[in-house]
Subunit: 479 residues, 2 copies
Amino acid sequence: MIQNTLPRYEILSDEAVATLDRGWRRIVSEIGVEFILPEAVEVFRDAGQTVEGAAVKLDPDFVLEQVAKAPREFDVQARNPAHSVHIGGDSMVFTAVYGCPFIREGDERRDATMADFENLVRLSQSFPELDSPGGTICEPNDRPLDSRHLDMVFALQTLSDKPYMGSVTSGPNAADTIRMTEILFGGRETIERTPAVISLINVNSPLRYDDRMLAAMFEYVRAAQPVVITPFLLMGAMSPVSIPATLAQQLAEALAGIALSQLLRPGAPIILGSFLSNTDMQSGSPSFGTPESAIGLLCTGQLARHFGLPWRSGGGFTSSQSVDAQAAYEASMTMIPTFLAGTNYVMHAAGWLESGLVSCFEKFVVDIELLRMLQHEFQPLDVSEETLAFGAHEEVGHGGHFLGAAHTLERFRECFYRPLLSSTENFERWQRNGGRDAAVRAGEIWRKTLDEYEQPPLDDAIREELAEYVSRRRTELGD
Amino acid sequence: MIQNTLPRYEILSDEAVATLDRGWRRIVSEIGVEFILPEAVEVFRDAGQTVEGAAVKLDPDFVLEQVAKAPREFDVQARNPAHSVHIGGDSMVFTAVYGCPFIREGDERRDATMADFENLVRLSQSFPELDSPGGTICEPNDRPLDSRHLDMVFALQTLSDKPYMGSVTSGPNAADTIRMTEILFGGRETIERTPAVISLINVNSPLRYDDRMLAAMFEYVRAAQPVVITPFLLMGAMSPVSIPATLAQQLAEALAGIALSQLLRPGAPIILGSFLSNTDMQSGSPSFGTPESAIGLLCTGQLARHFGLPWRSGGGFTSSQSVDAQAAYEASMTMIPTFLAGTNYVMHAAGWLESGLVSCFEKFVVDIELLRMLQHEFQPLDVSEETLAFGAHEEVGHGGHFLGAAHTLERFRECFYRPLLSSTENFERWQRNGGRDAAVRAGEIWRKTLDEYEQPPLDDAIREELAEYVSRRRTELGD
């Protein structure tokens, strides 16, 4: 977690913000939002909102009254207190890629397995640039569908001591996650006092929440565990081919869901989520790292601050199929605006490839390098008489060099960012050392990191209780 | 050339600016700047400044009086008026890589030749994202050293109709460039009215201008042709290992040179140049695309505006040896801040590789894609009732999709950025099409672009006069 105290880069005028504000108000009041869980609709009906089947037409001022109950900032505890995080304000929290069915490792692309999941959690634990492995860092396709959430949560809890994300595939799976979190942290009361598991609730955009996500959301919100309420918007498919229209829709969807959360449990911690990119209108495929997504990201940050909400966006996005130049410039095209906009909770910050279908080990390391650079860059610059270092100029004078200056010798170890992956070797030396490009070197780095990984200690009794819970529930689920 | 009307990203407080202002004042007055051309020293002595050998100790207020005579904005004409550019204000002008002795083409790295030079000029002419090929787009090592500047200027003048940069290797070579520019544009008076050739005057940092650069600068300034006065600063080598110290030095060097230009010809057009990165303190090699260079770039923009000067920085910088992920994220780490800072004159915007030793054809195309994306991104967002597109939401409603919506069908061709290089192909299709990564595809793009290149028309008499000038001067120079 870093504190990003540099200025926010905001591109919307007050008038533009007012126009977008009118936009979401009109959508929620005239078109409404569908909630495909009767219990959710009832909550809104009881609160006096207009219900038409599954659709709820909302009074925008009522929505904002509910939204105002959500905390602007909150803490999330890790089992290692040194890894607890703060969500909101100037804090930026970084988590790994989420939800990929495939793995890329070097030139091999294949179905993701539990072994991959575990290795990616180990890497997330090892790199200090990540605050959390996230949750479904890849899909463990070799585990039964009904019970794999247990394996994932157990791996997240035992292979890492950083905060983790919970299962959202159903209400019961969410309940399992919460129960396992209670075991790890010493009971319900402890985690209700300071939440311990974050979950991602995606909107089935446009303007619809599905029943499984809502059921999971109900579990987490009632347990006071934070949910990231995220409209899932690829412009042209799930929203209009217009950035302002998409921003208005994003607000309509997110604010409606946040209002629901506050009706369920006033003061429950939430994060306004954004996942906003566009369709490639030639191929119909999703397109990542685009100019449109960068603009959307900058605007979303400004709007989240307008409503006083902590917010989430990604990440190291790319459509590229391999760890090439495209993968890197598209990741940069999203990650640099992420810092400019001061995103509080950054998902997909390492490992994303191929429009999110692939968790890639080498891309993971490329993204870590990018994160490291930006975490270094977005720190206040100390401009003072001391850092003016006039003495160094006096020492070196005209036409000399500073390599041997006293000022340099005192500071050369720490004065500049030191890369993890990037090479400045001259061509002859680089070629002599095998002419390895960044992807090849990244492969060496993640393997070495895994070799050096040490599992964080965990009380044997707790581990045993977690394992027993997983075992019992697996049996109950018929796997 | 684009107009970047988005906000500038500024990270220096007023107090920090004041501290840096004290910094350069102390350097120029207490240490001074060396000018290794007696004529330059005489100019300063005549103006009442303190001369000690080649060093001139300057009164900072006197420096600023001279600097204030430089125009804040000016035009540079191209022989095709549609390609003329404006320097300063919100304008951003982009030029190709400059000064590389080597070429990379695919996996081959070799000495650059005149044929490479010509092909890179053709590419610069072909891509509208570049406003100018720049000047020494690579070193034509197969041409004699004494006269190759004639070949370069002739190629720039005839293969492109965009503005170009002149030779700075000596006073006489600069004079040749000016004479050829007079021939192309119809005489001295025409180019003195609206300048037609820009030149790069590097400072031999720290705090020294060498004689050859100064002699070239004298020629250009006296002809009212703009010079980019650029401290050449790799922190740790040519400046202290401190960003503020380096910024103060950059101001000291640049403002002293600009003062000289205004003493030579008050009102002569100049550009405050910045070339600021850092040494890798482990290898001693230059390091590009670093966090430090991005911070330096952002600060330089703010300082240039503080002094009311148009300014230059780069570019698609990288230390990488190949067109890999590192090349792309390092280029992005510089190019995105370049837009945030609103650089007026961007050098090295396409083709830079291997710390500037290599002009690379594939990197050229990668950089063009990055430029295209950013030129698209840094445009004002139209937030209005029309772009809210409420009708599209009414049409699609809940849980539908927008691919077939009327709003989409009316706009799908133009609604989003369309990539030149990036691929969104799904994996199977990508693999079936050869599994070509961005570098391979970039190779196909530049070859196709060269195939389709058409030489811009030029009056036969002018071409003949230029050719005769080159031929005569080559003979005079003994080549």
